[in-house]
């Protein structure tokens, strides 16, 4: 298979702390790959190693067929978690500048910058300084800066964090569009729902170690079944149900992970009379539940 990125036993230590502990993964071309885990799991460190900003202590990285990202930098798009713009530069200028840094020619970069800004509704802001842009518009410009040079592989570190709902949608569309164009997208997030919506495959990490990986469908299939419940009333009754592994109760909504062989009908029967049920949905467990279960299971073992 043709891989955009492979990691083989990559390890990074900061003194006594092991930030990334023997992580391996292989990401096929043209997929959307989710790199999931809570804060401090080692996602950013891994991504920085992939970008050759820092180097691993052990293990191998191959990116677009090269060992060092420096060689293929111009084919990479990278959106770090910490991102900003030059306040005094105009929106069009800064986009073109990033394009040129990626090896585009001046005129081509300027045309592309104008085109992108126009397409994403920032046409009239092209000649405005970045300090004049609203936060949301600034985010848009940052996103556009990652893809102005039509990269082969795009790496997004927590791309959704801090975005307003409109830009979350934009980000999602951009990611899907890149997939349609045959590009590979890797993004990290600590919000499982986002990954669940668009990823082809995922890798779950915790404390620098790999928990689960694989195509999303496989991971979900192995995660067991769960009931998605929307209700009104006193949720305390949920805890006493038989045949359940865990309840994640948010007050109006709950996800109930079922044990092997449990009968959803029986659960429904028990709940009727105690709660006003608005939705009762039997399906695969969410990534969130799978993650909690995996991490919790390890802790117990």
């Amino acid at each position: 298979m043709d891989y955009s990125l492979t990691l083989d036993g990559v390890t990074k230590r900061f003194g006594a702390m092991v930030a990334v502990d023997h992580i391996s993964m292989a990401i096929p071309r043209g997929t959307i790959y989710g790199f999931l885990g809570p804060n401090g799991a080692g996602k950013t460190t891994t991504i920085r190693m992939v970008m050759s900003i820092i180097y691993p202590d052990e293990g191998q990285i191959r990116i677009l067929g090269e060992e060092n990202a420096e060689a293929v930098k111009d084919q990479l798009g990278y959106l770090p978690e910490e991102k900003g713009l030059y306040k005094k530069m105009k929106a069009g200028e800064i986009l073109a500048y990033f394009g040129r840094l990626k090896g585009m020619h001046g005129p081509a970069a300027r045309t592309k910058a104008a085109e992108l800004l126009e397409r994403y509704g920032l046409g009239e802001w092209q000649d405005k300084r970045c300090e004049a842009l609203s936060k949301g518009m600034g985010q848009k410009v940052q996103i556009l800066a990652t893809l102005i040079h039509d990269p082969e592989l795009v790496i997004l570190d927590e791309p959704f964090s801090g975005l307003d709902p409109v830009n979350v949608e934009l980000m999602r569309d951009v990611i899907l569009q890149m997939k349609r164009d045959g590009r590979t997208v890797i993004f990290s997030t600590h919000v499982m729902e986002q990954a669940e919506q668009i990823c082809d495959a995922i890798l779950l990490v915790n404390k620098g170690k790999k928990i689960i990986d694989g195509p999303l469908a496989t991971v979900k299939a192995a995660g067991g079944r769960a009931v998605m419940l929307d209700y009104d009333g006193d949720g305390s009754v949920l805890r006493g149900l038989p045949g359940i592994a865990r309840v994640n109760d948010s007050g109006k909504q709950a996800e109930i992970s079922l044990l092997e062989g449990a009968d959803p009908q029986e659960i429904l029967g028990r709940l009727v009379g105690h709660l006003t049920i608005r939705r009762f949905d039997v399906r695969e467990a969410s990534l969130h539940e799978i993650f909690v279960k995996a991490v919790g299971g390890k802790a117990d073992a």
Binding site: F14, G15, I53, Y55, Y86
Partner: protein, 550 residues
């Protein structure tokens, strides 16, 4: 690879051109230069008229002083009138008819005596000693000194005609001069003492006492008053000068000069001593100052040579300002970029080394633009200032300073000095998150930068002395001290050896700075200690040495 650094440099440069600070920097030097020439002159012109009174108890001295002090003024006034006459300026009309008539006579003689009778030749004649001397005699005649002067004047072909005219108009001119208000005197010549000092004429009658004058001085009605003792010739009694202003002694010195001249003359007369004999007795030792060239030949010392010895000191100061402000720019720039969180985005496109060198190059361009504009505006000013403002500005001194060795070494040493400190500051900037943190780490570097300022004067006095030579070999000081020594100048070997030493050090500092930059630029939180930075420098590239946990 290289072009990416240039892209970064280019952006840096363009952005700097847009800042106000840059333009302030560009304009700073020419403005200072122009002001330093114009302001003193303007202030001179704006000085208030000093009102003073004199109590003359001798009964004769004041009148003679007035006559004497009027002489230089009248000389200037007539010189101005003659100038306007020859140039055919309309402003000649402000002079009274009597002055015009006399000036016309002098002008005519000048034109007749001048070769080819051209105006330029006539103007050239005005700078001859003959004319100057005639002018002095002429002025003293008007102000009332009797005697042999008329004879001398008649024997001077330039003034023969004018002397005749003067006979006719003398009383009229005297009358005009005496009644001319000081405020209006300015129109008839620059720098006249009449427009500076105005004697209030009430000390003549006996009823004015020192007490009433004291009150007037206290009220600022009078700037000062002077009491001449009964017998100044005898010289036993003191003159008295009363004023509230203790710093401006011009008036007293001006008055004393003419009083001394007059008293000296009177004493000589009283003792029947010939004036030329007296001059001879008082003649001071006169030195002829010479310098020796490298070939051992004696040479004249021009004012320009002295200026050239001190011009480097001014250059060092400017060099220092330029290096300091431009590398400071680099520091704040790096810190801002870091706090802007734009660095990591950049690092996905360029390597840390490219980023660092790009920044350093970009700001070097900015600095060079500034420094070159200084040099150019200096050269332009030296060229055009005399045409705009007239000569006698000490511009020839400035001309001496536009020596190519000086100007070239200024630009070269700016670049080298900047590169040295740039490497330090970019390293510091990369590990700091706020300008304030950077300020703390800057301290040792600032102290290092300060030292050449302290050594500026001693090195300037003895540009090839031990201290100067010693400091030249210490790389951080090399640019400043070598600049300072340009008046020496140092030998070629010294130039070569110190430059090599400096360049090698710059390379080393860059290497260290690059390692610190790589690590520091992605670091957040507390800035590292100097020890930590040392560990970073020693660690292999790509490794981040662990921070000690507290």
């Amino acid at each position: 690879m290289r072009s990416k650094s240039l892209l970064v440099a280019n952006r840096e440069y363009v952005e700097n051109l847009r800042t106000k600070m840059f333009w302030v920097g560009i304009l700073f030097f020419p403005i200072i230069l122009v002001l330093s020439i114009v302001v003193p002159r303007w202030l001179e012109g704006r000085k208030d008229v000093r009102r003073y009174a004199v109590l003359d108890r001798s009964g004769f001295l004041l009148e003679r002083i007035e006559e004497r002090s009027a002489m230089p003024d009248l000389e200037k006034v007539f010189r101005e009138a003659v100038l306007r006459q020859i140039k055919g300026k309309e402003s000649l009309a402000v002079f009274p008819a009597s002055v015009q008539a006399v000036a016309a006579a002098i002008g005519q003689s000048l034109c007749e005596q001048a070769e080819g009778g051209t105006n330029d030749a006539a103007l050239a004649l005005m700078n001859q000693e003959d004319f100057r001397k005639g002018m002095r005699d002429f002025a003293s005649l008007i102000s009332g000194e009797p005697g042999s002067r008329m004879q001398q004047l008649l024997s001077n072909p330039l003034f023969k005609q004018a002397a005749a005219e003067l006979e006719k108009f003398r009383a009229e001119i005297q009358q005009w001069w005496r009644s001319l208000p000081p405020k209006e005197a300015k129109e008839f010549g620059s720098d006249l003492s009449k427009s500076r000092y105005q004697r209030i004429d009430d000390g003549a009658s006996g009823e004015i006492t020192e007490e009433t004058l004291n009150l007037k001085v206290a009220d600022n009605d009078l700037f000062a008053y002077i009491v001449i003792p009964e017998d100044p010739i005898k010289g036993e009694q003191q003159f008295k000068y009363v004023s509230r202003n203790l710093t401006d002694e011009d008036l007293r010195e001006w008055f004393a000069r003419y009083a001394n001249d007059e008293l000296r003359e009177r004493r000589l007369e009283q003792e029947s001593i010939d004036r030329t004999t007296a001059d001879w007795i008082q003649k001071p030792v006169d030195f002829e100052k010479k310098q020796v060239s490298k070939q051992g030949k004696e040479e004249e010392i021009a004012k320009e040579d002295i200026a050239l010895k001190w011009a480097p000191v001014v250059c060092v100061y400017l060099l220092w300002i330029a290096v300091f402000s431009i590398s400071q720019m680099l520091l704040t720039n790096t810190v801002e970029e870091k706090s802007n969180r734009i660095l990591e985005v950049l690092l996905s496109s360029v390597s840390p080394l490219q980023l660092m060198s790009g920044k350093i190059i970009g700001i070097a361009w900015t600095g060079l633009t500034m420094v070159c504009s200084w040099v150019l505006s200096f050269v332009a000013l030296v060229k055009f200032m005399p045409a705009l403002m007239g000569k006698d500005l000490g511009v020839n001194l400035l001309q001496a300073a536009s020596d190519p060795l000086l100007l070239t070494s200024f630009i070269v040493y700016f670049l080298l000095g900047y590169l040295f400190f740039a490497a330090f500051l970019v390293g510091i900037g990369s590990v700091c998150n706020t300008v304030k943190e950077a300020g703390n780490l800057m301290m040792p570097v600032s102290v290092l930068l300060m030292l050449p300022l302290f050594s500026m004067i001693p090195v300037g006095q003895d540009p090839n002395g031990t201290l100067a030579k010693f400091l030249s070999y210490i790389p951080p000081f090399t640019p400043f001290v070598m600049m300072n020594r340009a008046g020496g100048p140092p030998s070629l070997t010294e130039y070569v050896v110190t430059s090599i030493l400096l360049i090698v050090t710059i390379v080393l500092v860059f290497w260290a700075a690059a390692k610190v930059f790589r690590i520091g630029i992605l670091m957040t939180g507390k800035p590292p200690t100097p020890l930590e930075i040392l560990r970073w420098i020693r660690a292999p590239i790509g490794q981040v040495p662990a921070r000690k946990q507290e």
